[in-house]
Structure formats: C-alpha cells, structure tokens
Symmetry: C2
Subunit: 154 residues, 2 copies
C-alpha cells in the first residue's frame, strides 16, 4: 500500500486486476485468434452456445455481460463463417435462436480442450492454495460491482 496518502498505481486493485487479466488473456488469445480466426467476443459467444446449447443473443448478453452490439456483430461474423445458425422464433419473431453448426461445435470442442488445458496449467503453476481461493475471490469482486452500473465493455 502506498505511504501516507500518495497514490501508487501498482497497489490499485482495478489496475492489478487489469494487469492479471491482460496477462492471462494474452496467453490464450493465440489459440482462438491465430488458429481459428475468432475475436475474443466470438470465442465467448461460442463458449456460451457450446455450453448451454441454443440460446438468444439477449441470453448471451445477460449471462456473459457482453454489450449487445458486440454480440450482434460477433454473431454476424460467425454466421458468415458457418459456425452458427440463426432461427427466428415462432413465438416471437424478434427473437433469434442461435445454435452452433457441426463445424462450430467442432471448433468449440477443440478450443474448449485447449482452454481446459490452459486453465489447468495456470492453476498448477499458481499452486493449490492460490488456485483454491482465486475463483471465489474474483466472484466476490464481480458481485460487488454488479450492484452498480450494468454496462460492459471488453
């Protein structure tokens, strides 16, 4: 902590979180970007569809706290790549049910495996003590802020 009222960026929690997030995200980025040409948002959309099956863009926004324009554009790009399909809902024609194509599922399976390995490696290197605590701490921090603004970026 900084001495006597002097602010030190290196001790600022939002900064530390950003640095840690950047450091780890960077490491995994090459997997979805260089190998499969996906953006981070596209990868996240894919991860949601892969995990939960068919869902709407709105659902993805709610679950992952991604801004709806980002989801919209990610979906458009993935559709163009044949990774997912949209099906307009019969009940409500504003709604589009999104689901991965076989190709999309195949890509998700591959990146998902790499993600599991990446995560496991990270936790191994952190050691069991840290690995055991880090999730709950981060979830606490996330929960703290969600009382306030709902907006999101990346």
């Amino acid at each position: 902590m900084a001495a006597g009222g002097t602010f030190d960026l290196q001790d600022f929690l939002p900064y530390l979180l950003n640095q840690a997030a950047e450091a780890t995200s960077r490491g995994f980025q090459s997997t979805y970007r260089d190998r499969y040409g996906l953006t981070r948002t596209q990868w996240r959309v894919m991860a949601n569809l892969g995990r939960f099956g068919a869902m709407t863009a709105r659902d993805i926004c709610r679950i992952s706290h991604i801004e709806k324009t980002k989801v919209s554009r990610a979906v458009a790009g993935m559709e163009a790549e044949g990774l997912l399909t949209r099906a307009t809902s019969d009940q409500d024609r504003r709604v589009e049910n999104l689901s991965l194509t076989p190709k999309g599922r195949a890509v998700f399976a591959e990146i998902g495996q790499r993600a599991l390995a990446f995560d496991a490696d990270l936790r191994t290197r952190l050691g069991p003590d840290v690995a055991a605590r880090v999730d709950s701490i981060l979830r606490e921090i996330i929960a703290l802020q969600s009382d306030g603004a709902i907006t999101e970026d990346d």
Copy 2:
C-alpha cells in the same frame, strides 16, 4: 469446475479475471474520464509520472506494460491539454523526459485521492480476509505470465 471435460467459460480463469477487472475499472472510469476527460491510458501515464516524477515514455512502457503507441498518443493528448511537458534529453536526443505540469500535478492529486478512496472502499467491502490476499494472488498471476510474451493491450 466444469464436469467431465466440458469447458465452462464461467470457470475459466482468464474470463473471471477479465470480468473482475472490467467490473472494478468501470466503477472508477467516471472519475478520470467524465470529470477530467482523460482516457484510461492517459490516467495511467499520469499516475506513473505523479508517482515517479520525470521519466521517459519507454520507462512508462516498461513499468506499466503499456504498448508504446498507446503511450505515445496518450502523451500527445496530455501535452495538448497542458498536463505534461516533454524535454528532449541532452545525452540522447531520441529520448524525451516527461514530467507533469503544475496543472497535471493538481489533477493527479485529485484523481489520486479519489483512487485511494475507491480502493479503500473496495477492500472494505471485500472484507479483511480477501483484501489481505488479493494483491499477492494477482501479483503471482501477473508474474506467471511475464515469462512468456511481453506484448500488451488494454
């Protein structure tokens, strides 16, 4: 953790870190952006200059892991706002020694105070147990990755 080899984004450490970083950064963004018209990078450059005094753009890059083009543009903007000055080094005329103007120092003092309060509030709300551990955990994560790629984004 995800069951039997199925990847779950919600348990992926890089994702959790990003969510936590976004959540907290968002909360503080209004302070430097809305009140003083600074970008995040500009605020970080300012924080470094405020803490360490005169330094070069390269130093800021090294210390804060910010990409040099971002620093370059942040510095240009801050100079235009009268927040900092550049002085070409006599020893090496490629180098520019950056330092905050009185106006820049005043702005830093104000934002710095708010940052201290923001950080303290965050830690209070997290509770002493978490607050005590979170720094070292994040620093460990940051240190882990710094063996690998050096690149940076925001």
